[in-house]
């Protein structure tokens, strides 16, 4: 049994199905991210793990012990977890020191031990010297560090983080990202991290669990989830993707031939695609497409199209190409320029063309926005 075992968890709010038969397992010391758009159920899952919500169905076991079931819930304070909240939730009526010392005080840790452990923790998050400050005197980033120190000082086995960086500005966010990763490695604590930012998820996680409409769509390493998305939703959510509708005309093993408009290309068959599926969608990342036949490598498709427009974005050039009536985005080299209106050829490695079902599996429609 894994460290954290979530089995068949379901939760509804009124008529809104927030979680639908969610199964997960997390290993010890893993950095795992629950990723998805707002309303997908990721925060509900995190709050159920914390013990703030009682599931309607399913169980949660941690280290072999039952933590949550519809009839019994271990209260949050007895779970040995820490939690960092989106808006920090640093207590405004306590100093930085008192915020961090709180968890130790209620566990009757001795005065001198408290002071020593708090100082060590504040040093670890880079807040030494600010012990006597009140939260109102701190910046957002500093408050987030207080929240981190407060939850880590009691040495939890698991740290839950609910979009902890979403209220910080872009630069600080990247710095905190790196610090969080380092901290997690040093402390060897299991981190369960919730975010809607796929770049953040990829930068931090050992594994990503993609949620949509209350269900787990895919579990995998960042590379797996990006390069081998389980379905169109995951492909779309993990980054920009071109979706070319086509017809599967034949398939042999892991590959098949697909007709797109007047042209035919070879494509890798995605997971869950059955022989009965004829109308499919080819998903291609813009950076996988080369401009011109010269860009072709081994086993590549060539698609003909016409360049509509290009936008110079500094590090890359974003081209819009019309392929038989479908607009295709191509991430091009900044040194390569093509005039709008020109007929061009696009070369795409077969491995980067993934045939997927165009529709998503049946789901309950969310009626309100909940994250």
């Amino acid at each position: 049994m894994d460290f954290i075992e979530v089995a068949g968890i379901g939760k509804t709010f009124g008529t809104f199905q927030a979680l639908d038969a969610v199964d997960l397992s997390v290993e010890e010391r893993e950095f795992i991210t629950l990723l998805g758009p707002s309303g997908c159920g990721k925060t509900t899952m995190l709050r159920t793990l914390a013990g703030f919500l009682t599931p309607d169905a399913g169980t949660i076991h941690v280290a072999g012990q039952l933590f949550s079931s519809p009839t019994a819930v271990l209260p949050p304070e007895r779970r040995r977890m820490g939690m960092v909240f989106q808006n920090y939730a640093v207590w405004p009526h306590m100093s930085v020191f008192d915020n961090v010392a709180f968890g130790l005080q209620i566990n009757n840790v001795g005065r001198s031990a408290i002071s020593e452990r708090v100082s060590r923790m504040l040093a670890a998050v880079g807040l030494e010297g600010l012990e006597r400050r009140h939260p109102s005197q701190l910046s957002g980033g500093q408050q987030q560090r207080v929240a981190l120190a407060r939850s880590l000082v009691v040495e939890p086995a698991i740290l839950l983080l609910d979009e902890p960086l979403s209220n910080l500005d872009a630069k600080l966010r990247e710095r905190m990202r790196a610090e969080l990763k380092t901290l997690q490695r040093q402390l060897g604590i299991t981190f369960i991290y919730v975010t809607h930012d796929q770049a953040e998820a990829m930068a931090l996680s050992d594994r990503i669990i993609v949620f949509n409409k209350g269900r787990v769509q895919q579990v995998g390493t960042p590379r797996q989830v990006y390069e081998r998305p389980a379905n169109l939703f995951v492909a779309d959510f993990m980054g920009v993707v071109n979706k070319l509708p086509g017809v599967l005309i034949e398939h042999r093993g892991a590959e098949g031939h697909v007709r797109i408009g007047q042209q035919t290309i070879a494509a890798r068959l995605g997971d869950g695609l059955s022989a009965a599926d004829r109308a499919i969608v080819i998903a291609i990342r813009p950076e996988a497409i080369g401009l011109g036949p010269g860009a072709a490598r081994d086993r590549a498709n060539v698609l003909k199209g016409r360049l509509i427009d290009s936008a110079f974005l500094g590090n890359i050039v974003d081209h819009q190409v019309d392929v038989d009536g479908t607009l295709v985005r191509v991430q091009g080299d900044r040194l390569q320029s093509v005039e709008p209106g020109a007929e061009i050829e696009l070369s795409i490695p077969i491995a980067e063309c993934v045939a997927m079902r165009g529709d998503l599996p049946e789901h309950h429609e969310p009626e309100q926005d909940r994250s």
């Binding site: 009682t54 009839t71 040995r80 977890m81 968890g103």
Partner: protein, 582 residues
């Protein structure tokens, strides 16, 4: 790192005790359950008795009381008078409240700050004290203003008799117009200047802008304010009794009082009349709510609204004159005359050095038995009622905002319900409920405590609700996940953060409970007199100087506490403006 047995559980022992589906435990359930039970006992149970009483229970059962309530000519007259009063005060509140609101909110009139404060003062002054002051000012023979007018114009009698229907409407009107004033003021402040400027850019003149833009935008507030004024005037037993009864004008609350005071008391009829009063109130409130909700274009209290003061040129002088005379009659004259009377040997004599005395204060505060007992009882009762109401209000607010418990909305509704109920009605319900088994506390001070808690728990509930609403639940969740139990989280996180708001809630109950009259008059007994009863009784005895001294003392207490509330609300956390986040 060594993992894991949940803290506090031995290895191998079952980690989980069976828990409720809501995930709430032990102490939490007991405390919250007690609060709910007390609320049902103090609010739900008396209201149930009001219905039972109207049906004739416990003596008999039938519809004859209801029938009698609607057929007796005395009751019919009381109903007509009450409706006339409501209509009169509603119209009066618009006639004086709206111009005042415009003047202070949007004009460049001088002294507008003073006018604003004095309107608040006239609202804070208990209306039965204003009524007493008007007897001193406009009593048909000895009234100060009447004597002044007679001297000025060489008249031999009158000219103004406060003991009349118009007298009652006027005295109540100068109290309740504050509702219309404050609602209109807030609405006018919330109209962004860009809305007016857009009209002006299209070529509208200023009067066209006011008529076509401002007025329609604040119309729901004006109507809502007029309805609130009318509803409140129905319930004001004090002025209705103090001015109406000598003039032999009966209103529903005074009629109910007479029905209960008759021998033998006709409780069934009193309950039936109370239900009639409730019906009027509920109809008015439903109308008001409908108006404010459906036709509210202005986001009241919206942020970042920019308003412009309009220059009124020479017009601001008549406007100032009008505003100053309104607040002169609503606040300055009544409080002034009570103060003068309290310090005069005899209120009939003109003010002079020889006519100044502190004897009445000595009588009111130290020697008069009923008065002294009233002061002590009022302090005790107001303190206890405020404490209990805040505890109940906090429990209701907590259940509403922090749990998903079934029925929490219903509970919140029950806790807010008494706000719309006249004190007389609440008192009849409390009387019927607590005069008999299982809780026969009638005749003791406890029944007054029950009545005050029941009447004013809405104020505490709303205040506690506003206070908790500002506190991000994540702050409490952070306490739980850090290892603190529910109660410890309450003590260390929620209560300290909510303390300023709960203190305001305490004062908001204390202030009206301290001077409560309309319920007390039906429930007090020898020994449990309050300040309001002392004033009422001493007035009956004609001791206007001692009454005035007691009145000045009461206004002093109420006013200082109101200033404290204002100050507390202005300071960051309790203001309802800044949410408390981490």
């Amino acid at each position: 790192m060594q993992v894991i047995a949940p803290a506090g559980t031995a290895r191998g022992a079952p980690a989980i005790a069976a828990a409720a589906p809501t995930g709430r435990f032990g102490l939490e359930r007991i405390l919250l359950g007690l609060g709910v039970a007390l609320l049902l006992l103090l609010v739900g149970y008396p209201l149930l008795w009001l219905l039972l009483g109207a049906l004739g229970l416990p003596q008999s059962i039938g519809l004859e009381h209801l029938a009698r309530a609607f057929t007796r000519p005395q009751n019919y007259a009381a109903l007509v008078n009450t409706l006339e009063l409501a209509l009169g005060t509603g119209l009066m509140s618009v006639a004086i409240g709206v111009p005042l609101a415009w003047a202070t909110a949007r004009s460049d009139m001088p002294l507008r700050q003073l006018v604003h404060v004095l309107v608040a003062l006239s609202y804070i002054t208990p209306p039965y004290l204003t009524a007493l002051a008007y007897i001193i000012l406009f009593g048909p023979d000895a009234g100060q203003f009447n004597r002044l007018l007679r001297a000025l114009f060489g008249l031999t009698s009158g000219p103004i008799n406060v003991f009349s229907m118009s007298g009652v409407i006027f005295v109540i009107g100068i109290h309740v117009f504050a509702f219309t004033y404050f609602l209109t003021y807030t609405a006018l402040k919330a109209v962004d200047a860009s809305l007016e400027e857009s009209a002006q850019m299209l070529g509208a003149k200023r009067w066209q802008t006011v008529l076509r833009i401002n007025l329609p935008l604040v119309a729901p507030a004006i109507t809502g304010g007029a309805l609130l004024s009318a509803i409140d005037s129905l319930a004001l037993f004090g002025p209705q009794a103090i001015i109406g009864t000598p003039a032999q004008i009966v209103f529903l609350p005074t009629r109910i009082y007479a029905t209960i005071g008759s021998y033998p008391p006709r409780w069934g009829e009193a309950s039936a009349l109370s239900l009639l009063l409730v019906a009027l109130t509920v109809a008015g409130l439903a109308l008001q709510r409908g108006y404010l909700e459906q036709r509210s274009y202005v986001t009241v209290g919206g942020r970042g609204v920019r308003t412009r003061r309009l220059e009124h040129g020479l017009w601001r002088w008549p406007l100032t004159g009008f505003c100053l005379s309104v607040v002169f009659f609503s606040a300055v004259a009544p409080i002034g005359v009570l103060t003068l009377t309290a310090f005069s040997n005899s209120w009939i004599e003109p003010l002079s050095a020889s006519n100044i005395t502190l004897a009445h204060f000595q009588a009111a505060l130290f020697t008069d038995q009923v008065s002294v007992r009233g002061i002590i009882n009022s302090f005790k009762l107001a303190t206890a009622a405020a404490a209990v109401a805040v505890a109940l209000g906090a429990i209701v607010a907590y259940l509403d905002l922090r749990t998903t418990l079934w029925g929490r909305r219903l509970l919140d509704y029950l806790a807010i319900l008494p706000l719309g109920l006249p004190g007389t009605v609440m008192a009849v319900g409390i009387l019927l409920a607590f005069i008999r088994f299982p809780l026969p506390i009638y005749g003791t001070i406890w029944i007054l405590l029950a009545a005050y808690v029941a009447r004013f728990v809405p104020l505490a509930t709303r205040s506690a609700n506003a206070s908790f609403r500002q506190i991000d639940p994540a702050l409490e969740e952070a306490g739980r996940i850090t290892g603190a139990s529910w109660w410890l989280t309450m003590r260390r996180v929620l209560f300290p953060l909510a303390r300023p708001g709960l203190l305001v809630a305490f004062l908001l109950v204390f202030i009206p409970a301290f001077s409560e009259l309309s319920a007390t008059i039906l429930l007090y007994a020898g020994g449990t007199e309050t300040i309001a009863i002392a004033i009422y009784r001493l007035n009956d005895l004609g001791q206007l100087e001692v009454v005035s001294a007691l009145a000045v003392f009461t206004i002093g207490v109420v006013l200082s506490l109101a200033l404290l509330v204002n100050w507390l609300s202005g300071s960051s956390w309790a203001s309802g403006e800044t949410p408390i986040r981490g």
